[in-house]
Subunit: 409 residues, 2 copies
């Protein structure tokens, strides 16, 4: 069960004018559930996305990049769970293109206006015929209130569907932002994320949308990590249908942009945290904030160093305040000219290391108290600058090993 | 139990003329075993060492660096298990110096000729009084054939003592190399290693000894990883007592140097592999060889990327040929300009990925056969150069989580 996460209800995911979503069964794996999703957007929709930096990126990621590079006009998304279509060479690329062509025929648009997504096992041939056969049923099922069913259809090792929604007032008109995502393992987004799709009816120009996606990914999905493995398929796409009753937002100076951007960021952070809360085998949710760095990159490197240490993660699982392991992780990732005698860290409100050494005030029972919580904040002060960054992770339990030892069976 | 590793016997660890070793009980933790080791070397011994790059390096590491920087004259090593004396600030430094002073008084040498080592829990005050009190007993126990008892005294989560020995003929005279080490978790040496101590009676000049230590560490200990956490205490020291009956080796052009160096490297590789074979919770030993890179660093980065992926490690534990996880790990660590279409990899003799895609010849049952073995070689060809590197790692099992969730209790 996820850590302190209430899955969305049908009512909590607000329809976005100009977007319908439908799921169907393609039996990608031996399961009896929807595993293909078709999202259809109104003509005039523009989209922007960020994708994995993994050199073995999946075929659908390559196709998405090509299609979005044509300006951002977007009419549909087609997603399958159970097979990542990664490490599949030219055949995989042909399969991803075949999906786009089939969807284009079905909804009457250009194949370049379709974005394909895949998630699941890497390096197995995509059963593309079964996906194509399921598309008409997905089209028939498409509804404006289909977000929750869509979130369910893209799950793999996720234990709950994940979604977030905001409705804001922009100059007297309602603007909606809704998003869904999936992901529980192979999570360490790099410039992008697992599979996340968000839409808004705000009429945002494509160049502005691209900036928003990049910036929002940096403070949301790119701060989430479960196991430090950046997947071959990470994708975060944001679509703007323009169907809200407001004038187009075409300038970065438009004060309405900040309002909409804030709602997008709130949803993205909620989705990114949901992935970590539902991390494979997770029993705890840990926020790691590193302050006092010379750059955000430096702070992120130290924060991820703590978040990825198997020794730190197993200590959290055991509720054991074995805090020397955090000291070790900081020491491994801090810049070479970092002065340990200026580094301090806290576990929630408890000062553990005070400028390089164990704090005089630190008592084992205080550390124990915080470590027993299901939500914990580790705060590090590097004592050498003004930059800061926050990442989120989970612990490393027996269930993580079990889940990943059994995943394909 | 370690994977395919036969622990040393008393007879297999050959005495090195000029070195005696003695252990004693200091009750550093609640255990009834020797946990303090004193190694005494003959006057005239020179030593060289490499140490952790962790910014929070332990107090004894700082002191070792200072003492060895004075030219390399070395008379004694004092080691304790159970407490790392790391993250202990100025008090930790004072404790390490106190150990050196006490040993210097005991054996009549300068404190700067003593090297302190500590290994165990980080960030707890060193019970230095108990160590000092145990030193006379360790001195009384010191014997030339004390190597195995010494290897036992420095164990922490190790399940077996680790040692290696070679006797070679150098110009008609016998030269001996013997070493011991410890380490099973927090293993990812960086320019150095866990705790390893080796000695030879070959009379090698200090500058040559420093080169040998650095080079040998690069192809032995620095290729070992259990969990990717570079410890605060990694240290590898090589002492040359000069007691073998041969003329001093003072020039890099001396042909005898290669003979001695090879024996030192063989011992170091055996010790490094022993640590991985006894890795916490290990059920498999995996060698990862990356070839066809533009540089050794590039090959090592990809090899460690595979070795550190929790998803790869759990797949090995499960004997599951979920080889897409290896593809993902390669893609995350390969240089940005790597062409996936030139990358191939093998599992032992089985070609899995042939230039970017699943090999036409690959059959799941062949992958399954290799994955079930206790020793496996992963060979990757990056297809872009002539450099190569090998690293060794183990799998990630339920026992790893159990061991590290319970370590301090």
């Amino acid at each position: 069960m996820p850590v302190h996460y209430t899955p969305p209800t049908p009512e909590s995911l607000l329809p976005v004018p100009g977007v319908v979503l439908g799921a169907a069964k393609a039996a990608i794996k031996k399961w009896d559930r929807d595993d293909v999703l078709l999202v259809v957007c109104h003509p005039g929709t523009v989209a922007a996305g960020v994708f994995t930096q993994n050199r073995f990126c999946a075929a659908p990621v390559t196709v998405c990049r090509e299609h979005l590079a044509r300006g951002g006009a977007m009419r549909a998304l087609v997603v399958n769970a159970g097979n990542a279509n990664a490490g599949t060479g030219d055949a995989g690329l042909a399969d991803a293109h075949a999906e786009c062509i089939a969807v284009a025929r079905l909804i009457e648009c250009a194949p370049e206006e379709v974005l394909p997504y895949s998630t699941g096992v890497i390096m197995e041939p995509l059963p593309v015929e079964r996906i194509l056969a399921a598309l008409p049923a997905a089209r028939s099922a498409a509804r404006a209130d289909g977000w929750l069913a869509a979130a369910r259809a893209i799950m793999t090792t996720d234990t709950v569907p994940k979604g977030a929604s905001r409705r804001i007032d922009v100059g007297g008109a309602a603007v909606t932002v809704t998003g869904i995502c999936k992901g529980a393992g192979m999570i360490h987004p790099d410039m992008a994320t697992m599979l996340a799709f968000m839409a808004t009816d705000a009429p945002i120009a494509a160049p502005l949308l691209r900036d928003i996606v990049r910036e929002v990914a940096g403070v949301s999905f790119n701060g989430a990590t479960v196991d430090g493995d950046t997947s071959t398929n990470d994708s975060f796409v944001l679509a703007a249908t323009g169907r809200a009753g407001i004038a187009p937002i075409a300038s970065a100076a438009d004060p309405r942009l900040g309002t909409v951007r804030a709602a997008i960021e709130e949803c993205a952070v909620a989705l990114a945290q949901a992935i970590v809360r539902d991390g494979e085998g997770a029993t705890k949710f840990i926020a790691i904030r590193v302050e006092g760095g010379k750059s955000v990159d430096e702070c992120k490197r130290v924060a991820f160093g703590i978040a990825h240490s198997p020794l730190v993660k197993t200590a959290f699982f055991a509720s054991d305040p074995n805090l020397g392991r955090i000291v070790c992780a900081i020491g491994n990732t801090a810049a070479p000219d970092t002065d340990p005698a200026k580094v301090s860290f806290w576990l929630d409100d408890v000062l553990v290391v005070d400028r390089g050494g164990r704090a005089a005030s630190y008592r084992e029972e205080d550390g124990q108290r915080v470590m027993k919580q299901e939500e914990i904040t580790v705060r590090v002060d590097l004592g050498r600058g003004k930059a800061a960054a926050t990442v989120w992770t989970c612990d490393f339990s027996h269930d993580y090993v079990s889940i990943n030892a059994d995943y394909r069976s």
